[in-house]
């Protein structure tokens, strides 16, 4: 329990995850810093393939081995080092104090086990509940995540449930043992828009009720504005900007964050063509030299092609990995 900052629940410092496939080897995540404080919702934002899910899996100790490994960095959960042993994840944390909801509710539930079984087994294992008690508890959890007729649903199999219902069951599984931190990896991406809103509301309500901390992974800035207190923006495996959600949404500093916000449809932009970020996210194996974003960046300077920028701390608990905008906008911001 030797945590430097008592309010910090999850602290990721300099996380680097290496993938190896036959000949090639690359860093899917490189030098990522991330903190989640108790009771806080942090959104990890970025395009597909930028390393958000790999970060989450590293925290959960679920990286696909032996292809992926944590090459560097520390992950501490309430002062416990989660990345210390290569193979041994500390017991009593995963599924109990730390839980995760995955992106694909359709394939994340075991098709041959009833959902009651799948919720109850964690309870039996972690809390030693007898079968009857675990089932009662599973029923309460199903009611809590808003599934109708929970008693009957216990003996249903996943294929009888809709996508939204399955994600509710996944949330019930994750919350079963009363975790302190919930990692939600794009939990609404695979769902219909109306269902997305319901799941988001549910997560927000559960967070309030249970005083959860949440690491919410998304590529949707619309979601960020509804749920996040703080935001970390990732690009090509690096954290490029962190700060309070309001600040970043109102005045993004990194050109990439700004481009993402520009690409978001909104009231003020009605009738206009939506801006898109030109180009594509580079594959981590082919990361450009210097700043990884410079080929797509409208503000790129010659130095950006050569030197890899460091994360520059700014006032109001913000930080940005861009010397160009930090100097202009950040300087103004700081002087205000």
């Amino acid at each position: 329990m030797a945590s430097a900052n008592p309010g910090v629940l999850l602290a990721v410092e300099g996380l680097t995850v290496r993938f190896r496939r036959e000949q090639e080897s690359f860093h899917a995540v490189e030098g990522l810093d991330l903190t989640v404080r108790r009771g806080e919702t942090v959104c990890l934002v970025g395009e597909s393939g930028c390393g958000k899910t790999v970060t989450a899996l590293s925290v959960m100790g679920l990286l696909p081995r032996p292809a992926a490994e944590i090459a560097n960095g520390r992950i501490r959960f309430d002062g416990i080092d989660l990345a210390a042993g290569a193979a041994d994840y500390p017991p009593g944390i995963r599924g109990r104090r730390l839980a995760m909801v995955f992106q694909e509710p359709l394939t994340s539930l075991n098709p041959v086990l009833s959902i009651g079984d799948q919720i109850a087994e964690g309870l039996s294992f972690h809390q030693g509940l007898c079968a009857r008690r675990a089932r009662e508890r599973a029923c309460e959890l199903l009611a809590e995540v808003g599934l109708s007729r929970p008693e009957q649903r216990l003996s249903d199999y996943p294929h009888r449930l809709s996508g939204g219902e399955r994600q509710r069951v996944m949330i019930a599984i994750a919350l079963a043992c009363g975790p302190e931190l919930l990692i939600a990896d794009e939990p609404t991406t695979a769902l219909d828009v109306t269902v997305q809103a319901q799941i988001l509301r549910l997560l927000r309500a559960l967070k309030e009720k249970r005083d959860l901390s949440m690491l919410y992974i998304t590529h949707d800035l619309g979601v960020v504005s509804r749920i996040a207190e703080r935001v970390a923006v990732m690009y090509a495996g690096e954290g490029v900007e962190t700060g309070p959600a309001e600040e970043i949404l109102r005045r993004p500093l990194h050109p990439y964050s700004a481009a993402l916000l520009d690409a978001l449809p909104g009231r003020g932009k009605r009738g206009r063509r939506l801006a898109a970020v030109p180009g594509a996210v580079p594959h981590p194996a082919a990361r450009p030299p210097g700043c990884a974003f410079h080929p797509r960046c409208p503000y790129a300077e010659p130095a950006c092609r050569r030197e890899r920028p460091a994360l520059i701390p700014l006032p109001r608990a913000r930080a940005v990995r861009c010397p160009v905008t930090a100097a202009t906008l950040g300087g103004k911001d700081a002087g205000r």
Binding site: M60, I93, T107, P111
Partner: protein, 320 residues
Amino acid sequence: MTAFLARNLKRKLVTLFLVTVVSFLIIHLAPGEPAQVDPLNPKFTPEMVERFRRAFHLDRPLPIQYVLFYRDLFTGRSVSWKDNRPVLEKIGERFLNSLPLFAAGTLLTWTLAFPLGIHAAVRRGGFFDRGTAFFAYGFISLPGFFFAYLLILLVVNTLAVPVLGMETYGFEDAPVLYRLNDRLWHLLLPAGLGSATGIAVLSRYVRSQMLEVIHQDYVRTARAKGLPEETVLYKHALRNALLPFLTMFGLLLPGLVGGSVIIESIFSWPGLGRLAYEAILARDYPVILTLNFIAAVLVLLGTLLSDLLYAAADPRIRLE
């Protein structure tokens, strides 16, 4: 459920009828005729051939022959043309001989292949995985009869294990325990050999199936719950990996008749496979067609059994 069974059985009866027609036609299309098996035999005078043909209705048109044959089959009256013994009696006797061989072989195959395959999948790329892969491919590529002779040489010369037939000649009056012991020793080599290839093939299937399932999202979910690795593997992964093998299990049934002609021939095992082989050489139509009929029934029953097992194990499958 009952509706499913009724519809399924009806369909299977139609299939069975078609099988009888086709197999009957194939047998009669094949060159040669029982009456002409041994044309150089001086005892086979033309009159005898004629008498033979009449006795077994071979002078009648094919449709009549078909009806007469299956009438005899269902009333239990058909006899072997070779020795005039009732076909069902011959088959029943040989079936009892084949049964222990089949049972021992199947038991060995299915009890050994699964642990081997699962273990290899879990330690993919490790010493155990490579070792079993080496032996599996060895058994698959080595012809059974060749391997059998090697083993016979080894076993007879150095271990004095009996290898010919089902029991030692002259042991019919020995005490029960002695006979049992003797029979078990005789069973060892043919059953072991018969199952070796089966174990090799099946364990590879189990391994690849297990590997596929291990990477499914729901296995990751199980891990995320913090369950012990054994629970993740044997409850969440294995249950899904086993589903395709239920289909294979139903298709074991026809093996009761097809048996293993090669193994039975090498070890002089008086089983069904050899009976069929000898009957084909002798153009003994009633025996061939009856065995064929039984095999067809077993195949159809096997697929029905597979369907039922599958529905029982996989909640996504509903029989209707």
